[in-house]
Amino acid sequence: MEGSDYDLIKAVGKGDEGAFECLMRRYRKSVLNFVYRHIGDRYMAEDLTQEVFLRTYLASARFVPTGKVRTWIFKIAYNLCLNEIKRMARLRRLRDELDAHQAITCESPAAGGARSGVEEVEAVLEALSRLPEPQRAALLLRAGEGLSYAEIGQVLSLSVSGVESLLFRARTNLRQIVQICGKG
């Protein structure tokens, strides 16, 4: 079954598994990559992505078309990421304390020299993880998924001007983090 996102979600709300599979095909990769880049753990990202679509299915009958289906799905994904980040917060603080000195002095093997592809990805994910939560989400939604400011505002419950301000700070901060480690 094909059709608009709204047609699909209406059908899913009536228990149409074919429509649900079609909806998953459209957004599963975007959601997976948003979640992965957000929390930095591949295996947890896969689990969370499944949870995103499970919750999408269960809430589908209550979807109100005041916004796009896509932003609604990303909002579910964002909320699940927040829950996961809170759960990992304690470990992350410990890791950040250990890594803060490394970032400032840039003693990591990647700094000042050529990095492998994997190291480069890890470095960017590490830099992203240092951003405050809503800044990270806004940047991933804009640069990674191409959502408009209005759509990002719906996901993060912010005004358009709030999103603009958030993205400005996110890019400024990430640029500084990356520059410290010699990439910028």
Partner: protein, 137 residues
């Protein structure tokens, strides 16, 4: 446009989120301001870093796994609460208790007909029974 004003809008300028007049004002300023051009360039590199992150591939059995979880949840779409089976069991348990406490209606006591069907021991029943007796003296 002042440099400070332009800097604050550079992110939106890059994303094409500015209205026409503001877009032109920021664009004109960037042309003559090396600092703002450097900032814009830095923001573009940040976005390139994000876009350059390799994407994960979805496993082939992703849809099957999600559908299995959906079926295991035993909930129809829109029902974020215990399944029908559990709910009906709870209601079945409560039903005899409800019948135990529900009193039968009293016979006609001669009160005003329109209030004759108050359930016994309800506030309305007590009120009108009292006043009807007061009225009889």
């Amino acid at each position: 446009m002042q440099c400070e004003q332009a800097r604050e809008r550079i992110s939106a300028y890059m994303d094409g989120e500015l209205d026409g007049p503001t877009l032109h004002q920021v664009g004109d300023h960037i042309e003559v301001c090396a600092s703002c051009r450097a900032l814009l360039d830095g923001f573009r590199k940040v976005d390139d870093l994000i876009r350059g992150l390799h994407g994960l591939d979805v496993k082939d059995d992703f849809a099957r796994q999600v559908l299995e979880k959906v079926r295991e949840s035993d909930r129809p779409p829109g029902l974020m609460c215990p399944g029908k089976g559990a709910l009906s069991r709870v209601l079945s348990f409560l039903e005899p208790l409800w019948e135990l406490f529900e009193a039968k209606r009293a016979p006609n006591t001669g009160i005003l007909e329109e209030f004759d069907d108050f359930p016994p021991l309800s506030v309305g029943f007590i009120y009108f029974k009292f006043w009807s007796q007061v009225g009889r003296g």
